[in-house]
Symmetry: C2
Subunit: 156 residues, 2 copies
DNA sequence: GCCATATCGTTCGTGTACGCACGATGGCCA
DNA sequence: TGGCCATCGTGCGTACACGAACGATATGGC
């Protein structure tokens, strides 16, 4: 990795008005993107099933808590757009982990539930869930871990 | 929003062995996904140009600091896979915000730089950058904001 | 009962994100 | 000098993410 591209003398940022310079690496949005990237990578190798993604996992965990949920409500519970939810649910249904039936009381809705196979799968993954979080938080001390979770909760 | 779907009596998580229950809403990965979602939404409405995405923005900011960078090196600086970088750069080049030329010293590389239009655009966006971060961190107190940035830096 | 309004799920388009495989090129060392 | 291995950029496949528009259905106010 030679040729490290020499830095310019002064980043002329137009917004560093006598205060601290604006560094992209210090901005929340940037840090959240990077942190999320790392968390996803750890999830993928530690959850125990390379075919399950983080969003699929949270959807299945929620469906395990509630027996049946409409697609939109599930999306609200796990923080996913209905368009995004559509794709997630389709993939889970293709793999026979989730089943659906029309809501008898509301013809607009579809009720989702885990199949037997889906329940078996979530319960297996749930055993690895804590380890995934532990690994992601490993660089932090115990109090720091709790602090981070609390701060993230506040800005979500 | 009636029909809130009744909760089951006990979430039988298989992993809540006498310790605290496993709640998906308390896991780092989940919180990071939600926080990143919110940060992206705030960016989109506050950066001042709805056609610029967060990743495009950080790429342009880095290209503004360094005069010229190869595509791979830029990707490493802003934390993006080379396959992801490819798409980002293509879109910026399509809009004439970024230009490229072959590296005279290494035929494998392409050197990227901002066009005049690109420089004008970044400098305009950089004026809004601090406001985006401020808005994202608004739910937190001053010390909490600094703590969050520090903790995120540690786990990236 | 009727109609304006809202919700539900789908589809389309665009943009990140990354693994994998590929061909071209470069660096290093036997 | 030749060959091995790394790096660079590209292309493909898959998956999240969301705005916008759509048709079907439900609800509340009149």
């Amino acid at each position: 990795m030679r040729n490290v591209a020499k830095k310019q003398q002064e980043p002329k940022t137009a917004a560093s008005s006598a205060s601290r310079p604006y560094r992209i690496e210090e901005q929340v949005g940037y840090l959240l993107r990077r942190a999320h990237q790392r968390a996803s990578a750890i999830f993928q190798v530690s959850i125990g099933d390379p075919n399950i993604t983080p969003t699929q996992y949270s959807s299945m965990v929620k469906l395990n808590e509630y027996s049946e949920l409409s697609q939109n409500l599930l999306g609200r519970l796990v923080g996913m757009d209905k368009a995004t939810m559509q794709g997630v649910v389709r993939r889970l249904k293709d793999r026979r982990l989730v089943d659906s039936r029309p809501d008898p009381g509301d013809a607009r809705r579809t009720l989702l539930s885990l199949t037997t196979d889906g329940q078996r799968t979530v319960n297996k993954l749930l055993m690895n869930g804590p380890a995934v979080s532990r690994e992601t938080l490993k660089p932090l001390s115990g109090p720091e871990q709790r602090q981070l979770l609390e701060l993230l909760s506040k800005i979500v």
